[in-house]
Symmetry: C2
Subunit: 428 residues, 2 copies
């Protein structure tokens, strides 16, 4: 029985890795385009860090273990605790607010299902040190841009926007005890997928009812004052049309304190593509009160987004175009005469030194095989080195045009050909 | 006591992350430039995979544990076993040889010392399915290019080249038992750092002596036939001058079968920067003989390379230049009149949609503070939105030149300014 990946983990064969790199590159460009700078934390952290943030319950979902040095550690299930730790540690070092993003793997020990894996990649975008709703708006604008960059439009996705404060207000009016707030929010969070009778029963046990909750939800629309500042800011950017106010969104995680939102697809019924919100108490909690900084952020995973891209023709076409530009060889050096292999290697080196992606046959091969190899690697040009050396032949593998060129004129001629071709020349 | 990273793990604050990204980008460009395609495996694999490759001893150096589902797993200490597993699984899917590279984290539970961490990044470059020395030469050429791309020259590093076959031959002549070959190679591997008397004693116990070994080493030079094909191939590319034949290099790992090499720095006495060689039996071993493919590869870590870059002024200057180009904001939108914040957000969105890196003050700030912010983010231009709107002011933050421009002409004017400026415009 050959070795296999462990459950919930993936191999990225070259075609999978190219899609992953495309997603990373688009995320990185979007975040940097909005003034965020990249950071990264370790994949392994003290288990206590996650326990302190999320309670003992979280341990069931962790890849946690004790090291040979008796440290209790876990593969990170999310990056926010590391971010809060890092921000608190260097809070005097940077001017506020911090606009930081991160891209890297996270790990959850949970049942495998569509859109969920045990090793996945996450894109985290956070603003730390700014309490104003302007920060929430900036974050939502960045989330929208980070989806539009894949060719997704307002027909493909929307941002469902809510605010935990709405529910705090509802709870106080309905007389729900403060210590049962978490329990109450769990019911609201699961409401959409649960049977109405079950939800009503749970709500009654908390001193309210499904009717009361539904009436409250219906009473909150996009004109509610809690959304006014965010709405103004997003409307000024032409982005409010991506947002649907939906008080039913509360997000599962306990630590949110204000605005919460999710990006979800409008056509395929996938899981949420991204989610986030304001978490003003976390930095203080994780630094034992040493550092108090308001914060908000969102995370987007690669798994659901990857599915959405595959389901959306325009988005998939953009992937294919990107792969053509980034995955192709520029030049394949064909050794037409083995007596000229030495010279062919010199040509190859010259092309590589100039910054072109260039390859050649490692061992003697028939011409036909070499051209197959060149086409398999999607090379744009072949440079044929044969008995006529120092005269070479350049062949455009798309158009089949070919032309002779002296070896010492090769580089200049190729540069012209690339400049004239559809894709940009890789030489800086 | 605030939370800290666990021992041997790093936080990448933005300035550290930028250096990491620079290294990754240079590696990626070098490998792709030599016709390699990127893959990635999972960070967690079955512990048996590593045990089968390296023997039970390896377990002491692993972050290994048992999951809640009773799987024995380890954080990967290296990527080659995953690569061999993946190559065997899809061997019919791709034409040979595979030229594959990978960049990602690895984990070793070992004592912390200079140049060694418990979480580090590795760059792996491998050719699978080609037994010819042409593959070894191609690999060495790629290793050289992957160091030169950082501005390192033949005065900064060299490739120490050897071949395990030399020692197989020596052992048979010296009458060392085949089953003690591993033990013998360990002595040779440690010889450079061990006391000569201790080495001599160990060698005598194996039936030879330090004198005999030293005489053998002295007898092998770059004209030895075992290096002829590699030498021809590298000389044809002008790269032989980077190579020093040194039979003393045997590499610690048991699985090498032929050529072995290390890249080491010439000025600072650091640990090896990269190492690799031929491992023709590994794919067969890990696939229980199902798939037999010759292979060779090298790995380079980010820790020693990072130190070498910092020690080498030309290399550090290249990092600084790259950071200036890639880490800077293009435009900072200054809100000179709060009554025009709405319009400023529209301008901001227009700039971001056009692909520029643009930022703005989230909350009302004095002009001076805004310009400080812009300069802190190394913005190249400020666009000032004030009472004169729709007339804007563009200010070049390097030269302090400023000019008025109507809002509807901003994009075109900025595009001209970027085209004329030192760094390339980010718009495609």
């Amino acid at each position: 029985m050959p070795f296999q990946t462990i459950k919930g983990f993936r191999d990225f064969f070259p075609e999978d890795c190219a899609l992953r790199n495309y997603i990373f590159e688009r995320w990185r460009t979007s975040a940097a385009g909005h003034g965020f700078v990249e950071y990264e934390g370790p994949a392994l952290e003290s288990t206590d860090l996650f326990r302190k943030k999320s309670g003992d319950e979280i341990v069931h979902q962790l890849f946690c273990f004790t090291t040979k040095g008796d440290e209790e550690v876990s593969l990170r299930p999310e990056v926010t605790p590391s971010l809060a730790r890092m921000a608190a540690a260097r809070q005097r070092h940077y001017s506020k607010p911090l606009k930081w993003f991160q891209i890297g793997p996270c790990y959850r020990y949970e049942r495998q299902q569509r859109g969920r894996l045990r090793e996945f990649h996450q894109y985290n975008v956070d603003i730390i040190g700014e309490a104003s709703p302007a920060a929430d708006a900036e974050l939502i604008a960045t989330a929208i841009a980070s989806l539009r960059t894949f060719g997704l439009t307002k027909d493909d996705f929307a941002i469902r926007l809510s605010d935990r404060q709405l529910w705090t207000q509802f709870q106080s009016q309905a007389g729900i005890a403060v210590e049962r707030a978490g329990e109450f929010l769990q019911v609201i969070d699961k409401m959409e997928r649960a049977a109405p009778e079950a939800t009503d029963e749970k709500l009654k046990a908390l001193g309210t009812s499904l009717d009361a909750v539904q009436a409250f939800i219906a009473s909150v629309n996009e004109n509610h004052p809690v959304f006014a500042a965010i709405r103004n800011s997003l409307a000024a950017r032409g982005l409010w049309e991506f947002v649907k106010v939906d008080p039913g969104i509360v997000r599962g995680l306990a630590y949110y304190t204000g605005v919460v939102f999710e990006a979800f697809d409008l056509k395929h019924g996938l899981r949420a593509i991204a989610g986030g919100g304001r978490y003003d108490n976390l930095v203080s909690l994780l630094s034992d009160g040493d550092t108090d900084m308001p914060a908000c952020g969102f995370a987007m995973g690669d798994v659901v987004l990857g599915e959405l891209i595959k389901e959306t023709p325009v988005a998939q076409k953009a992937v294919d175009e990107w792969m053509k530009r980034n995955g192709a060889l520029d030049v394949f050096v064909v050794v037409a005469d083995e007596a000229r292999r030495h010279e062919a290697l010199g040509i190859l080196q010259q092309l590589r030194d100039a910054g072109w992606r260039a390859d050649y046959p490692l061992t003697p091969q028939k011409m036909g095989k070499q051209f197959q190899h060149a086409e398999g690697a999607k090379a744009r040009f072949a440079v044929i080195v044969g008995t006529e050396f120092p005269t070479l032949v350049i062949k455009n593998l798309a158009t089949r045009d070919q032309m002779e060129v002296p070896a010492d004129g090769l580089r200049a001629r190729l540069a012209e050909l690339f400049a004239a071709s559809e894709y940009k020349n890789l030489i800086a």
